[in-house]
Each structure stands twice: as structure tokens, then as C-alpha cells.
């Protein structure tokens, strides 16, 4: 099980991530779980979902746009944004828009190719939870949040840019 860092602490992960190829039969097979489902799953299996006993969250891939779910986002306790490769930077924009345009207050979780050296950037864009790639050392990763003491830009964590704080 990959390690989860949430709000600066290593935590147990009690959500199960469903891959894109998964069908609705999974729901009857394992009752009472908390699932993070892909957007297509959410759109296609509303009937099965409404009958299910566990909770649901959503994950978006990097080519999907959070603005397409602007209406629904607030009903989810958690939205996960995928990094298919750590060098694919689109989910940074999705995270910021989720916080800044849509005003989303729930958990934003980074999933996929989530590595130590990107955690600081992710946190500034509004991610507060990080499902680390299996080979990452969580303790080493915790130090990443301290990489810099201050920043020039305003972001989700510190909305005022440095020039308004100097």
C-alpha cells in the first residue's frame, strides 16, 4: 500500500482507488468501502453508486479539466488529481482552479507519479494530501515541505505575493 501524507503527517489511507478500466461489478463484490472513482465511472454508473453503502470520491486525469465538474465538486469530500508522469504539469493548474476558481474546501490528493521533489510545488498549488509512489521514503518526503522559507508568488497557501508582504 503506497504511503499517504496528509496535512503534513503520514496517515493511513482508507480510500481505494479504482482504475479506469474497472466496471460497476466491483461495487457488489466489495461492499462498504470508500472508493475514489474515475470521472467516466461516476458519470456512467450513477444508479449503482446511489445504492452502494460506502463513500465516493472522484479522480481526474491530467487531461481532464476541473471546470467540467464545476457543479458537482462540492459534493465530494475528496478529489484526487493524477500525475501520469511527474513531468506532466497539468494537475497543478487543476488544483489551483479547484481551490481558487471553484472554491473547493475538501481534500485534494495527488496520485500517480508523486515524488519527493515535487511535493513543495504541489502543496503551494492547493494539494493537501499526497499518495506517494511506492518507492518513496515518507520521512524523507516530509522534509520536502520545508524546502523553501518563502516564495515570490501568491498561491493557494499564501494568497499574497511577496511584493504585498515585503
Amino acid at each position: 500500500m503506497p504511503t499517504l501524507i496528509k496535512d503534513g503527517k503520514v496517515e493511513r489511507n482508507d480510500w481505494t482507488l479504482l482504475k479506469t478500466a474497472t466496471g460497476p461489478e466491483i461495487l457488489s463484490a466489495v461492499p462498504g468501502k470508500n472508493f475514489i472513482v474515475p470521472l467516466q465511472f461516476w458519470r456512467n454508473y450513477q444508479a449503482e453508486i446511489s445504492e452502494y453503502s460506502g463513500e465516493f470520491a472522484l479522480w481526474l486525469d491530467s487531461h481532464e479539466n476541473v471546470n467540467d465538474i464545476a457543479e458537482e465538486v462540492h459534493s465530494f469530500p475528496l478529489i484526487a488529481l493524477n500525475f501520469p508522469a511527474f513531468a506532466d504539469g497539468r494537475s497543478y493548474t487543476n488544483a489551483r482552479e479547484l481551490r481558487e476558481r471553484l472554491g473547493y474546501q475538501g481534500e485534494i490528493r495527488a496520485i500517480g507519479d508523486v515524488l519527493r521533489d515535487q511535493l513543495y510545488l504541489m502543496s503551494r498549488c492547493g494539494f493537501n494530501a499526497f499518495e506517494l509512489r511506492h518507492d518513496q521514503d515518507a520521512d524523507v518526503c516530509l522534509a520536502a515541505f520545508e524546502d523553501f522559507h518563502t516564495n515570490y508568488q501568491g498561491t493557494v497557501v499564501e494568497p499574497l505575493p511577496l511584493f504585498r508582504r515585503r
Partner: protein, 571 residues
């Protein structure tokens, strides 16, 4: 080698004189955090805890390439300004960590070609001591912002671009949303009427303009670029107020980060996105993003603009006359000095002062190469003659921007004593050239020897002067680091069945009337090139009317007359 310490206290770093941005505690803190971060990353890499692929973008964002021969470290020179102190530090690094050389690039950066990976964190710490860094000088992120090398001293300026370059530098440094863009991203700002910053061929090009109400602001273009598919940028914002600069840029970046192509690295630049989306649709998307952030906290404040402007005020100019008698008599008695004066000295906004460009294009020296001793010497000259500062140009030369006219002769004699007095500025032998096959792993062909063979062919200064303004640019491959598309004559190294050939194009320009060169025909072998250039020049000299530059003649008569002559006896 000692591990250098980092200076935290800005008060220790104040320059004696000068008109550069100077760091405060925040800037110093960020830089030292960055050095520490990269030191950790390098250690983890050397320990085998970071893979090559994972270390790659981290080292690139710290300016470190791995080249054919050795790693190459590219250092940012924000808007091309260097103080004497910084020059001396670069000289020290060239001496102690390299083979006694540094290289000025075509984007106002400095490169070292032989550092050891293990020592790079130390080099970065030495740079941090003098408020320099290698942040975001490569990789798929926002690169060093460039401007006209005459910013602040040019007589035809609307406003000095450097404060805005500094504002953009800070905004783009470690921007968390834009650290992993589809591809590299370059921004240029131009505040002069005569554009020397090649602004229109940048991913974003910014012109300082005045609107009908006389208010100063920015005209913003996007989608320009060289490389495989050269394009001139298109207007996205005809006019934005000064305070809206960063939100406008952020809106463009956001659309690009989200929608720029990531499936094919050759189609990943913003120019392709603008083309495939269509300018109107692209603009609409940008406006949609802009609405969200416009007038938000990222909006610049008048105070911040003033704060940054205050770093770029005029140095202590004296009240002096133009054309002092010492200058006049030197000009009439020394013909060599007079040629240099005519070619390398430009008008200054302040009477009694001149702008001097020191050509780094002496024949036989790779364009842009400079030794540690030359760097030290330039530092000394800058202190004696130009308020302790120099500027690096896109043309790989060095500018002393504030030289008293009554000291020009003295300065020239000193330059001459160190072989720095080439008077070929903007002439045919002032060639822009990438490192090419001698240094660069991506090259199809060598470029430095081509430059040299052309320089040797045109050794006669009278002849050069009679040819006048003619810009030659050479790139060793499609990546176009030598900007061959915008050379009046462009030369591109190509690979033909394992052999090095050179494709020649005509009619490019990076000036206000920017244009991209047209390929003249089949490529040439290396030893044919000097002769080809000679033939092209002969056509120009034959067809030109009075006062017409090469590019003007070309624009008037087209490519055919050139083609006919060049290929006439091809076999």
C-alpha cells in the same frame, strides 16, 4: 575546494555604485534555499536514490546539461546585466572549476562547458554570493527574461524595460504551477523603438507602448519562436495597464500549461497551440482565465513598480558636452580608432556619454568565448569607464553602456592591448553562432569552424565596411540556438547520410520588421560556405542602390538573383 558560505545579510552585498537590482533578505533566503535543495538532490542522485530520469528535470532547472564532453552549466544573467564583482566571480569559476573559459550565449546567459557534477552545488553557492544563479536556465519552464541590451541608456526609449524584467523574473522564479510546462518558455520585454531583443520570436513578447490617452502599458504577443517551426508572435493583448502585467501573463501561461501539446515534443511550444487553436479562440481562452485573476492579489501595485524602478535609476552622470575636442582629435589622427568608433560606439541618451559594444568576435575565437583574464579585465574596465557594470548582448558581445566620450580613446587603447578592439559590430564577421558539433550533443554539424572560415575570407576591414550591416547566424541543428532563421544570411547544419552539410537561407531579421529567412536551395559542403557567402555579397553589392543594406536589397529584388549566381557553376 572549499564549500563556500552563503551570505544571508543583504547589507553585506550592496554595490558601491550601479543601477542593478540588489537582493534583500527574501531574495537571498530563496537563493540559499535553492542551493541547499539542489545540493540534496545531487547527493541523492549520486547515492543512487534518484533515477536519471527523475534527476534530469531537477538539474535542468538548475541550468545543468549533460553534453557531449562534460556537463554544461548555464547561468542566468537577468536582462544581461553584470557588475564588475559578478564578472570577477565568473572569472574565478572559469579558473577554478572550468578550463579558464566562459561562453556568452545568444540569450544573454553565460555557460561553463567543463564543470564536474559533484562541484556544481559549490559553483551555485559561489554564484549566490554575488546574487547570481542558474535557476530555470533550461528545462520545460519559464526561462530567463531578456531585453534590449541598451535598456535605460538608449535615446529612443519609451521606458526602461529592466524593472519589468525584474518583476517578471521574480514572478516566474519557482512558480509552482508552471514548473512542468509542455516545453521551454521564453519571454522578452522591449522598451526601445528599435527592437534589438528579437521580441517577436519569443513565446511571449512584450512591448512597452503608449495608448491613445498617453498612458504607458504593454502590448503582449504570444506564440513566437524559432526552432523547427519558426513563427512570429501574434497579438493577444493590444494594451494592458502596467498593474495588470502579471495577471495577463499568468492567464496565458495557464492556458498553455493546460492545453499545450504533450504528446510530441516538436509540437509542444506555445506557437503550435496558438496555431492549432486559432488566434481568436486562444485569445478567448486567455480572457476567460484572466477574468478570474484580474484585479486579484497578483495585480501589481504602484509601490512595487516604483520599488523595482528605483534599482534602475541613472548613475551619477556628469554634465558634459557632446563631441569633446579630445575625441575629435583622436578621431582625426587615428584611423583605426575612427573605424572602431564608427562601428562599435552608439549614441547615448545623456550628452557627453556613449554606448560602447566590445566585440567578442575576433577572428579565430569561437563567438562568445571569453577567458577568465578577459572577464577580469572587463570588470576592471567597467569600473574605470562605466560605473562598474556591463551588459551581455544577444549577439554574444559585451556592452559598456555609460562611457564618457572624452575617455573613449583611452578605453579603446586598453581594449586593443587585450585584443578586444575588433571593430566589426553588426558587420558580416560579427557572427552569431551556437556551440555546435564541437560541444553540443544534439548537433548535426559543427558551427564554430564555419564562422571562423567566413571571418577569414572577409579579413579586409575596408571591404567589410563597404558591405555594411549584414547579420549572419549559424546553428548546428534544427534547435536553432544560433537563431539562423532571423539571420540576414542563416546557416543551418544538416546531416546528409552521415556527412555535415549546410543549408543557407536569406532574408531573416529580428528587428522591428521581423522576418524569417527563406532557404535558397540545396545544402553546401563545409568548404563551399565561404565562397557561397562571397557570391551572395557580390550579388548584393552589384544590385544595391545608395545606402541600401543587404536586407533591404534582398527585400527589393527577392531570392532569385542570389540563387542564380550561387548555383550557376555548382557542378
Amino acid at each position: 575546494m572549499n564549500t563556500p558560505g552563503i551570505v544571508y545579510n543583504a547589507s553585506l552585498c550592496l554595490y558601491v555604485n550601479g543601477t542593478m537590482y540588489s537582493y534583500d533578505n527574501y531574495d537571498h533566503q530563496m537563493l540559499s534555499d535553492r542551493v541547499a535543495q539542489f545540493r540534496g538532490q545531487t547527493e541523492r542522485y549520486l547515492d543512487g536514490k534518484l533515477s536519471d530520469a527523475e534527476f534530469l528535470p531537477l538539474r535542468l532547472q538548475n541550468g545543468l546539461y549533460v553534453q557531449r564532453m562534460a556537463p554544461m552549466l548555464r547561468i542566468a544573467v537577468p536582462y544581461g546585466m553584470l557588475s564588475s564583482r559578478q564578472l570577477r566571480q565568473l572569472a574565478m569559476i572559469a579558473r577554478d572549476y572550468d578550463k579558464g573559459y566562459a561562453h556568452f550565449t545568444t540569450r544573454q546567459n553565460v555557460q561553463f562547458n567543463w564543470p564536474e557534477l559533484e562541484e556544481v552545488p559549490d559553483i551555485l553557492a559561489h554564484l549566490a554570493d554575488v546574487e547570481m544563479h542558474a535557476i530555470q536556465t533550461s528545462g520545460n519552464c519559464i526561462r530567463n527574461t531578456t531585453t534590449d541590451q541598451f535598456a535605460g541608456v538608449s535615446p529612443d526609449e519609451i521606458e526602461d524595460a529592466r524593472p519589468y524584467c525584474e518583476i517578471i523574473r521574480q514572478w516566474s522564479t519557482f512558480h509552482p504551477e508552471f514548473a512542468f510546462l509542455p516545453r521551454k518558455f521564453k519571454i522578452a520585454v522591449c522598451g526601445t523603438k528599435e527592437d534589438q531583443a528579437a521580441t517577436q520570436v519569443h513565446d511571449i513578447g512584450i512591448y512597452i507602448v503608449q495608448n491613445a490617452e498617453g498612458e504607458t502599458g504593454f502590448r503582449i504577443l504570444a506564440g513566437g519562436g524559432l526552432g523547427r517551426t519558426p513563427v512570429i508572435g501574434q497579438e493577444v493583448f493590444p494594451f494592458v495597464a502596467k498593474v495588470d502585467l502579471l495577471t495577463a501573463l499568468e492567464a496565458i501561461m495557464r492556458v498553455y500549461n493546460r492545453e499545450g501539446r504533450r504528446d510530441n515534443k516538436y509540437k509542444a511550444r506555445i506557437k503550435i497551440l496558438v496555431r492549432e487553436t486559432g488566434l481568436e479562440a486562444f485569445r478567448e481562452k486567455v480572457m476567460h482565465e484572466w477574468e478570474l485573476i484580474k484585479d486579484g492579489p497578483q495585480t501589481l501595485t504602484e509601490e512595487e513598480i516604483e520599488r523595482c524602478k528605483a534599482f534602475f535609476v541613472d548613475p551619477d552622470y556628469q554634465t558634459l558636452e557632446d563631441n569633446p575636442t579630445v575625441l575629435q582629435s583622436a578621431l582625426s589622427s587615428n584611423a583605426l580608432f575612427a573605424s572602431w568608433y564608427e562601428q562599435n560606439v552608439k549614441a547615448h541618451k545623456k550628452s557627453g556619454y556613449s554606448i560602447v559594444t566590445v566585440s567578442m568576435k575576433a577572428t579565430g575565437v569561437a563567438p562568445g568565448d571569453v577567458t577568465d583574464q578577459q572577464l577580469d579585465y572587463l570588470a576592471e574596465l567597467a569600473e574605470q569607464y562605466s560605473f562598474g557594470e556591463v551588459r551581455v548582448t544577444h549577439h554574444q558581445n559585451v556592452v559598456l553602456a555609460d562611457v564618457r566620450q572624452d575617455q573613449l580613446f583611452e578605453l579603446w587603447e586598453k581594449l586593443r592591448s587585450k585584443a578586444l578592439s575588433s571593430h566589426n559590430l553588426d558587420l558580416l564577421t560579427d557572427i552569431i553562432c551556437c556551440p555546435g558539433g564541437d560541444f553540443c550533443a544534439l548537433a548535426n554539424a559543427k558551427s564554430i569552424p564555419i564562422a571562423e572560415s567566413i571571418q577569414r575570407k572577409f579579413a579586409d576591414f575596408k571591404e567589410l565596411q563597404s558591405i555594411g550591416d549584414l547579420r549572419i547566424n549559424i546553428s548546428g541543428c534544427m534547435n536553432a540556438c544560433g537563431h539562423h532563421h532571423v539571420g540576414n544570411i542563416g546557416i543551418l547544419g544538416v546531416d546528409k547520410k552521415g556527412e555535415e552539410f549546410y543549408q543557407v537561407s536569406l532574408g531573416g531579421s529580428s528587428r522591428n520588421e521581423a522576418s524569417l529567412g527563406k532557404i535558397i536551395g540545396p545544402a553546401f559542403a563545409q568548404d563551399e560556405i565561404p565562397l557561397v557567402i562571397e557570391k551572395l555579397v557580390a550579388v548584393y553589392k552589384d544590385k544595391r542602390t545608395d545606402g541600401e543594406k543587404f536586407i533591404d536589397t534582398y527585400n527589393r529584388i527577392g531570392i532569385d538573383p542570389f540563387k542564380e549566381v550561387v548555383y550557376a557553376n555548382a557542378d
